[in-house]
Symmetry: C2
Subunit: 248 residues, 2 copies
């Protein structure tokens, strides 16, 4: 079988390069612990259940998560402490968790390092979210050094978001790449795999962590991986890697 | 001379409880260092001068400070690195500076501890700014434990800001205090001292750090202090301290 020509790989960020869901759970745990040790008189378990409930109700905005938690439990459970100080304690604990727990999957770091040193591939990021917030995750993970600086794209700056096909098309165009010469690696069948395949990218489902782990879709990914060593094997077996300069 | 009756002291936060100006300078320094070590090819000194210029032009909004810095220096000075990663490096360094440099003046901590243990005074905060952001400073300074939880007020939640007289009036009313029974300690003659005196509070000018150190005003503060040991001496010499419960 003739190998497919490949020039670039774009990675999703959350639950692809690092376990966003594990990090968030740990950050919430530390935040709630800080609130309790600063005077919130509610059991840890109870608090985490309430947070889960809030997040289910209000998927899009976590900015007021701890505020909402206090609203739900009621003033009498934190009567001896100032509400804003309590929220500040949670926020500080949340941010400090970034320093200790925002790390890439170990194999992600090893494989990206190896790829960047041995193959002429463009390694990029193509992710939903605010540019600096998403870039902070890449930076904290230490992965920026393996990526091509001009191949890092976020919905905020593209002006389109998943699953809009232009979200995938525009970065390819900007780098003078045909979608067929690129791979997209993401964890969400419906908004990563379906649109990436629709424009002709090779779509790889990263099946490892996060709430979309069991999501079904009618569109099959080209490959499924559970760690980045499997990605490396797929590259070696199925693709002919070409440097970008040969594209034009 | 008959001593004045006193029931509460309200403190400003920035450049009163901690050196906001020193902290910010240190945070900016660390941020710029992080940008340079991540690929920004501009001298440290030059970067700091540009930041100063940006802050002078655009006093109110520091949210895009590093973004604006990159705009001013121009793309060719960071061509080898992604812009958002560079800003993220600055943001991470800025936040990490909080852990090491956001500390109260040592005498502030000692005197507030002493006051909270020995006097029936209500110790509160009355500050401009967003509630959680200002509360974070108090919390990081570890001063929340010496303050009365219901005497912590921020312009965001009061609904009025300095120098509006209601900013000073409403917290007094909420605690059932006459302004004459309270002290306000702040660093800005025009928006701390003038309005506080106007409603009858005892106004103490904290003359120690920050850009308003040399500001003149026609209204004289009741006292000037350079550290909180001087505040303690003023309390002992000029005031009869009464518990709040005797107010009503």
């Amino acid at each position: 079988m003739k190998k497919k020509r490949l020039k670039a790989i774009f990675f999703d960020v959350d639950d692809t390069l690092y376990s966003s869901s594990e990090f968030s759970a740990m950050a919430r745990l530390n935040s709630v612990k800080a609130m309790i040790s600063n005077g919130l008189r509610v059991e840890l378990k109870e608090c985490l259940l309430i947070l889960k409930e809030i997040m289910k109700e209000n998927k899009s905005n976590n900015k007021f998560l701890f505020d909402d938690l206090l609203k739900k439990v009621g003033k009498k459970y934190y009567s001896s402490v100032n509400k804003h100080v309590l929220i500040a304690a949670a926020v500080v604990a949340y941010h400090n968790t970034k320093n200790s727990f925002l790390k890439p999957y170990p194999d992600v770091k090893e494989v990206l390092k190896l790829l960047s040193e041995t193959m002429p591939l463009v390694l990029g990021v193509l992710s939903s979210g605010f540019a600096v917030k998403q870039a902070e995750k890449i930076y904290r993970c230490g992965l920026h050094r393996y990526l091509s600086p001009n191949a890092i794209f976020f919905s905020e700056t593209i002006g389109k978001d998943k699953p809009n096909l232009d979200f995938f098309r525009l970065p390819c165009a900007k780098l003078n790449l045909l979608p067929q010469e690129t791979i997209y690696v993401g964890d969400r069948p419906k908004i990563d795999i379906e649109p990436a395949k629709a424009i002709g990218m090779v779509a790889i489902l990263n099946q490892r962590s996060g709430k979309y782990l069991g999501q079904r879709s009618n569109v099959k990914p080209d490959f499924i991986i559970h760690d980045f060593w499997e990605l490396l094997e797929i590259l070696n077996r199925h693709f002919e890697i070409l440097p970008l300069s040969e594209a034009t």
